[in-house]
């Protein structure tokens, strides 16, 4: 038996912010010598689509998300634009605006893009398993997703997770 440590992750969220934790932890664990598997289910399927440029982040109903401008002088960048939910909800394109600002902030801070981290995970042979039930439920086709995925159900996840040293739900 191999004494290689194992990390199992369930990725259930499909937004730009929540795309980070599974790919950051998977790629890092892999660099530390772990064998890693991510099980993508429900909204997590967005993270393995061929085109992930459409991932968005929403500050609506998310009081933990600072709304700061990624440009301008330092005093301006420091302002947290506390915009009430009722206003956010009524401005068309508010989510797109927030996403654009977030992407700019990500680039400014030398943080990798999701596409880059996903590629690093694949290079490191992190195993991607996709919930076939969700594929059917949301009307996806296998051709919507990147290559190298395995399609299976909950039982397949437990085969790996049951042997894992760390198991995370995200």
């Amino acid at each position: 038996m191999s004494d290689q440590k194992k990390l199992a992750i369930i990725a259930t969220k499909g937004t730009l912010d929540w795309a980070y934790p599974p790919f950051i932890l998977a790629s890092t664990a892999s660099a530390l010598g772990y064998e890693v598997e991510i099980f993508f289910t429900f909204y997590g399927l967005q993270l393995v689509r061929k085109d992930i440029s459409g991932l968005k982040v929403s500050p609506l109903g998310n009081p933990g998300m600072p709304m700061k401008m990624p440009f301008g002088p330092q005093w301006f960048r420091g302002i947290n634009w506390n915009i009430p939910n009722i206003i956010q909800a009524n401005i068309p394109g508010f989510e797109s605006l927030a996403t654009t600002l977030m992407k700019k902030t990500i680039a400014n801070n030398g943080v990798a893009t999701i596409a880059e981290l996903r590629e690093l995970c694949q290079e490191a042979e992190v195993k991607f398993t996709v919930c076939q039930m969700t594929v059917d439920l949301f009307g996806f086709e296998h051709s919507d997703f990147i290559d190298g995925l395995e399609y299976a159900g909950a039982a397949k996840f437990f085969e790996f997770a049951g042997e894992s040293d760390i198991c995370l739900y995200m």
């Binding site: 950051i24 790629s27 890092t28 660099a31 530390l32 030398g110 943080v111 990798a112």
Partner: protein
């Protein structure tokens, strides 16, 4: 300062990129060779300690030079 065989400039990169790049660079080196890493991410100080501990590579030194963090890692 100690000698090194290869250098990795991870300046401007944030977590987890310095670690991932270091791992990749070490992968192309041979045992006992030394990698010098320059980083600006303050989190990398504890991260490279943890990286060395978990991968068996030796962290020969960790310090600051001109506002940047500099690490020397010897490949196991």
């Amino acid at each position: 300062m100690a000698n090194f065989d290869q250098e990795l400039d991870a300046s401007g990169l944030n977590c987890p990129l310095p670690i991932l790049r270091a791992k990749k660079t070490l992968g192309g080196m041979t045992s006992n060779q030394v990698l010098r890493i320059v980083a600006t991410d303050p989190g990398s100080v504890k991260d490279f300690e943890a990286f060395a501990k978990q991968t068996g590579n030796t962290l020969l030194s960790s310090g600051e030079e001109g506002g940047k963090f500099v690490f020397l890692i010897k490949k196991a």
